[in-house]
Every structure is written in C-alpha cells, then in structure tokens.
C-alpha cells in the first residue's frame, strides 16, 4: 500500500492529480480505516496519481457547522483552505459525504475552490475508463445487496446513481428499501448527532433504518459513509443479525471483487 503525502510530493517537485481527503472517521475510526485502505488499494491498483494531507489534514468543520458553531467551522475551514491552496489542490476525492458536502459547497465562499467528488464517483470513472477490472476476487453474483443513501450524498448533493451503478457492476442483485433515494431515511448520525445521545423518543433512528434494510432480505447493506456504516452496523447487531448481514462500504465491495 503506497500512501504518498502532499508534502512528499511537493518535496519531489510533483503535483498530484487528486487529493484524497481521508477525513476524521477514515483516519481514526477502526471500521472506517478499513474503508480508507480499500480506497487506497483501488487508487494504487489503477495507478492514480494521488496524495493525502496526512498530519496536515484537520477536521473539515462539518460537525461544528451542523451543531451551530460557525466560529469553529470557519476556523477549521480557513486553516484547511490555507493548506490546500498552498499545495495548489485542484481536485479532491473523499469517502465521507459530510466532508464531501462541506468541501464542495461551503468552502468556496471562504476561498477554497476545488472540484470535489465522492469516492463512488471516482471508482465509477475508473471502471468506465477501463482502468479497473472487477475480476479474480470475491464474487457477488446474484447476491442481494441493498444501498443505504447517505443524506449528505443523496438529498444534499443529488448523488444517487454512482454507488448504485457500482453495485450493479458486481453482478449483484440491487434491492431497494421502501424508503430510498430522495426518500431515503437518515441513519441518525447527521447534524452532529453522531457525537451525542439522541433526544428522548420511542426508538433509535438507526433501528428504524435497519428494519428497512433487513426487510429487503439483503445479505449486504452497502453504504458510502463512515457514519452510516457505524449506525447500520450497530443496528444489525441490535437485531443479532451480524452473522447473516454485513454492512460494507461500496469501496470495500469493489476492492474485494477486484481481489485487492
């Protein structure tokens, strides 16, 4: 696994095509780190000229902004923008829809103008241009897979098709939940909820959503967000189904299929 940093690239006088924004979950959360590595393997395999910020990366500020703390958000954003502009970053790929949304939509007004894509969009492009072949690895042929739409990818940014097209490329049977795409139900983590207990109610949101997913009889719940992944994994555990139903990021499915 080769993970070049922007600093190394710059020292060699190189300017990579794309910055891989790992995000806090992708850097620190044990489950999300696996997704990060799956993406790096795909990037390595396809010889994508990329780099990470490494220790120069800092929280995008999304949870602060959603929690109403605009000061903390803008401090984070401006520091990140300063770093990225110094490296003359043009294009960013990220595995976190929250970072994706903030970098893409909220950084421009603070002086950070980049082309930002979600990792499912990049992988779709790699497959479509023939750089990545899904062969030699685990086969998903005929397996039932359902996709849980992350709110900040779907409704917030209208990306519904890229992750689905990848699942279809696996020859798997994509089964939709009753609430999907524009009507997809949140996993319960957004808006800084990930970092606090839920308010009093009669049910946890991730349980409600996991019920939707289990209803499809899918063997795999695919998603494209580290926080959705946590919430759905917890939900599946709650129903004691972790033996029968796996929660996986689309990038992991692709990496497995390509034997990476």
């Amino acid at each position: 696994m080769r993970v070049p940093t922007m600093a190394e690239k710059m020292a060699n006088g190189e300017s990579p095509d794309i910055l891989f924004w790992v995000g806090c979950a992708g850097s620190f959360d044990d489950r999300a780190k696996k997704i990060t590595k799956a993406i790096v393997k795909i990037l390595n395999k396809c010889q994508v000229d990329f780099a990470v910020l490494g220790t120069e990366e800092s929280c995008s500020g999304d949870p602060a902004k959603r929690a109403g703390n605009e000061f903390t958000f803008q401090m984070q954003a401006m520091m990140n923008i300063e770093v990225m502009n110094a490296y003359e970053v043009k294009k960013i790929v990220t595995a976190c829809p929250h970072c994706f949304n903030t970098l893409k939509n909220e950084y421009p007004e603070l002086g950070g103008n980049y082309e930002v894509i979600h990792h499912t969009q990049l992988i779709q492009d790699l497959i479509n241009t023939g750089k990545l072949a899904l062969e030699g690895g685990e086969t998903f042929k005929g397996k039932k897979i359902t996709f849980h739409d992350p709110c900040y990818l779907g409704r917030a940014n209208d990306v519904y098709e890229s992750p689905r097209s990848l699942i279809e490329k696996l020859d798997a049977e994509l089964v939709e939940m009753k609430r999907c795409k524009t009507k997809g139900l949140c996993c319960g983590a957004g808006g800084a909820q990930m970092f606090k207990e839920a308010e009093k109610g009669n049910k946890e949101i991730n349980i409600e959503r996991t019920e939707d997913a289990l209803e499809t009889q899918a063997e795999i719940i695919a998603t494209g967000c580290p926080f959705c992944n946590t919430m759905m994994t917890d939900g599946v555990k709650n129903f004691e189904k972790e033996g029968a139903v796996k929660v996986m990021d689309v990038a992991e499915l692709i990496a497995h299929a390509a034997d990476l």
Partner: protein
C-alpha cells in the same frame, strides 16, 4: 338594488383582503434581508414546475390526484368568477353566454366536471382527516384550531360546490321553461352535469322557487368566495396564493449547503491574520449584526417568514422526519407553525406598540424548545418532501446558531466534540500527529 349590494360587497371583500394581505406583507418584511433576486429564469422554471405544475405533490400519487382536482377546479372557476363580477355589477345574466357561444357551454361543462371531482376529493380529504385519522393529521401540533381550520376550509369548499350546482341546475330548469332571464328565450344550456342534475332535483318546483334557488346559489357562490378570500390570511390555507412566490424564491443551492455567516468570516479572518489590529473599529459598524443566529422571528430571513405563511400544515415534512417518526419531540411542521404564530404576535405588537416593541417573549423558549432543535439530524428529508419548497432546516440551524454562539447552550457531549475539533482537529480525542497512522497499520 342588487347591483348596489353587490358593489358594496365586492369592494368590502377585496378591500378587507387587501388590508390583511398588507399586514402579512408587513410581517414578512420584518425578516432579515437575503438576496434571492438572481437566476430569474431558473426561479420561474421552479415556480412553474413546483407550484403551477404540482411536481412535488406527485411523489404521493393518490393525494396528488385528489389535490389536482381541487386545484384545477379552483383555477378554472376564476373564469366563472369574472362573469359573476360582470353580471353583479351590470345586471346582466350570464354575460359571456351569447358572446362565447359553444365555447361557453364547453367552459362551464368543464368547470362542472371538475367541481364534481373536487367534491369527491373534498369528501376524501374529510374522511382521511376525520375517519381514517392519518398519523400526520393527528399529531400533537394539529390539536385544536389547526384541525378546525382544515375542516372549515373543506366544508367551505363543499358549500361552494353545492352553490354552483344549485345555481346552474335551477337556471337550467328555468331556461327550459323560458323563465331564466329577460334576455333569454326558451332553451337549454346543455352543461355537462347541471343539464340532467337540474331537472332531477328541481323539475317539480315553481318558477318563483327556482328563481330563489338560482339566486341563493349565485349569491352563495360569491359570498363563499369573499369569505374564503378573507379567511385566507387567518388560515393555513394561504398556500393557494403564496405557493407561487414561495417557490419562485426557493433556495436554488444544493440542499447540503448551509449559509455562510459573513459576520463570522470577518472575525475569523481577523483572528487568523497576524497583522490585524484587534482594537480597530469595525470598518462598517452598521453591518455588525445584532446577534449571531436567530432567537426570534425577526432574526430569521424574510424567506423563512414567507415559508411560515406558505405552510398549509400537510405534514409531509414531519412524516418523513427521522426524529419525528422515532417519537422525538421535533416536528418540522410545528417549527413552521410556531414561526408563523410568533410572527403574527410580533406583527400585532409592532403595529400596536411601535416597531421593535419587546414583549419579553421569543421564538426559542416560548414556542420552540431546545430539545426539539437538538433532535434534528439535518438530513433534509423535510426540505425534500415539502410540495411548496419550504425549508424548515434553515430555521432550525439559525436557532441552533443562536443557542451555541450567543448563549453557549450546547448539549454536553457536543461541547466535548467541539473542544476536540478546536484542540486537536478531530471530533474525537486523537492527536493530529496520529492522523496518518492508519497507513502503517495492517
């Protein structure tokens, strides 16, 4: 005599509506400024698709079709209203009948058929609300006045439709006996419904009785229209007019994009600029905001306030809200209703006691609780679902901003998360220097 009475009624009806509409406009303009004057073409397109074309209604096809019947009947009946106004002021009878000929028969027939559909739709809506008790119509915030308001509107619609048919039906029988009006000889209107419904109900009545029924229908119709018009500003039903400007001024950005607070940007730039003079007077003192975020309705934007008046309390937002469906206190519909109710109160206060009058109450606390605000996952389902492009999320966020930045009222776990971001650049307690450790782990 009838003409004078009608003229008085017309001017009173329109005048009183204009006065109330002015009050609503005054209230909406109490909001903060926000620029929605750009991209006119795209705005027009949004309005035509979403308001005029009912695009978003059709994500739930059955209510959409029922609503469409009412909506089209309402729009097309406006043509008949023009005739009623002309007849009322000039003393003519069915002014357009001889002028339009066959097209008149077609037009009134069309109105009649739509009125029947609208009647069915209204009944269905009453049943859905009162007998089937759909969950979104029985939520807490609809108890009391909002439910009465909804039923009253539906009943008014039924009366209105009955008036149309008694008017046309009785007139049909009168015409067939040559007793309709001095300008009319013996004949038939041949309207689609009243041509058979009229004789069915009224065949055995005398000419005098028929005249009374026809007049009752005519006056009842126009009285209902005036009553309806003037009821609108007091009711959730204002959406029939405000849906158009509200969709025109829609947020055209990606839904995930929250507004940038420029006042904060200036301060953050100062903090990050080593050459900045921290004691310098602000370049533009007038632009310094009163407060960060929103405590009361006047801190919200005029678009938020227009949203509040446009809301017809259908509850699609709340029935799709993850917090609401799992039993939390938050209901996006209630956020909109609270905003409107508070705005009406503030507007009354300002007009009575002078602009800026402080009654010691505010939207946060007296109407919306912190518990509701913190239950939001910012998932945008409410924004997506609203058939008239209302944005409850932007109000929730502005209220949160006030709580956090002005009052430091943050749930304790979030305080930890925010401190971590400030100290080590991640919501959890991991050092920034460890950010690349994953690359060296198996």
């Amino acid at each position: 005599m009838e003409i004078i009475l009608f003229a008085i009624l017309l001017s009173a009806g329109v005048g009183f509506f204009a006065y109330n509409a002015w009050k609503v406009r005054y209230n909406i303009l109490l909001g903060q400024d926000i620029d929605r004057s750009d991209r006119k073409g795209e705005r027009l397109k949004t309005m035509i698709l979403v308001a005029f074309g009912q695009k978003k209604m059709f994500s739930r096809p059955i209510p959409a079709l029922l609503h469409l019947a009412l909506y089209v009947a309402f729009i097309i009946t406006q043509i008949e209203l023009i005739e009623i106004a002309i007849d009322g002021l000039s003393g003519h009878h069915r002014f357009f009948y001889f002028k339009l000929g066959g097209f008149y028969t077609f037009m009134i027939s069309f109105i009649e058929i739509l009125s029947v559909l609208a009647f069915v739709a209204t009944l269905a809506f009453l049943i859905r609300r009162n007998l089937l008790k759909l969950p979104r119509f029985t939520m807490k915030e609809l108890m009391g006045w909002p439910t009465k308001d909804a039923n009253l509107i539906l009943l008014m619609e039924i009366v209105l439709i009955c008036c149309i048919f008694s008017m046309n039906g009785a007139d049909e029988v009168l015409y067939s006996r040559g007793g309709s009006h001095v300008e009319f000889a013996k004949g038939h209107y041949d309207f689609a419904i009243s041509s058979w419904m009229g004789p069915l109900f009224f065949q055995n009545l005398s000419i005098d009785a028929l005249h009374i029924i026809e007049r009752m229908g005519w006056w009842g119709h126009i009285l209902m229209v005036f009553a309806f018009l003037n009821y609108l500003p007091y009711s959730k039903h204002f959406h029939i007019l405000l849906a158009f400007p509200n969709t025109f001024y829609s947020n055209l950005e990606q839904k995930g994009k929250f507004t940038n607070m420029e006042s904060v940007t200036n301060e953050v730039k100062l903090m990050l600029d080593p050459n900045a003079d921290p004691y310098a007077a602000p370049a533009n003192p007038e632009e310094t905001p009163k407060r960060f975020g929103a405590k009361d309705v006047t801190d919200l934007t005029w678009k938020n306030l227009l949203d509040a008046y446009t809301c017809t309390e259908c509850g699609r937002c709340s029935s799709s809200c993850p917090a609401n469906v799992t039993g939390k206190l938050l209901s996006p519909r209630k956020i909109m209703m609270d905003t409107r109710d508070r705005l009406v109160e503030v507007g009354e206060n300002y007009r009575k006691h002078g602009k800026g009058y402080d009654d010691g109450k505010s939207l946060i606390g007296d109407y919306i609780t912190e518990e509701e605000l913190w239950a939001c996952t910012s998932c945008n389902a409410c924004v997506q679902e609203c058939p008239v492009n209302i944005d409850p999320l932007s109000i929730i966020v502005d209220l949160r901003r006030y709580l956090v930045m002005e009052e430091s009222k943050v749930p304790s776990e979030l305080t930890g998360m925010l401190t971590n971001i400030e100290n080590n650049g991640a919501p959890w307690q991991f050092a920034q220097t460890e950010r690349l450790n994953w690359a060296n782990e198996d």
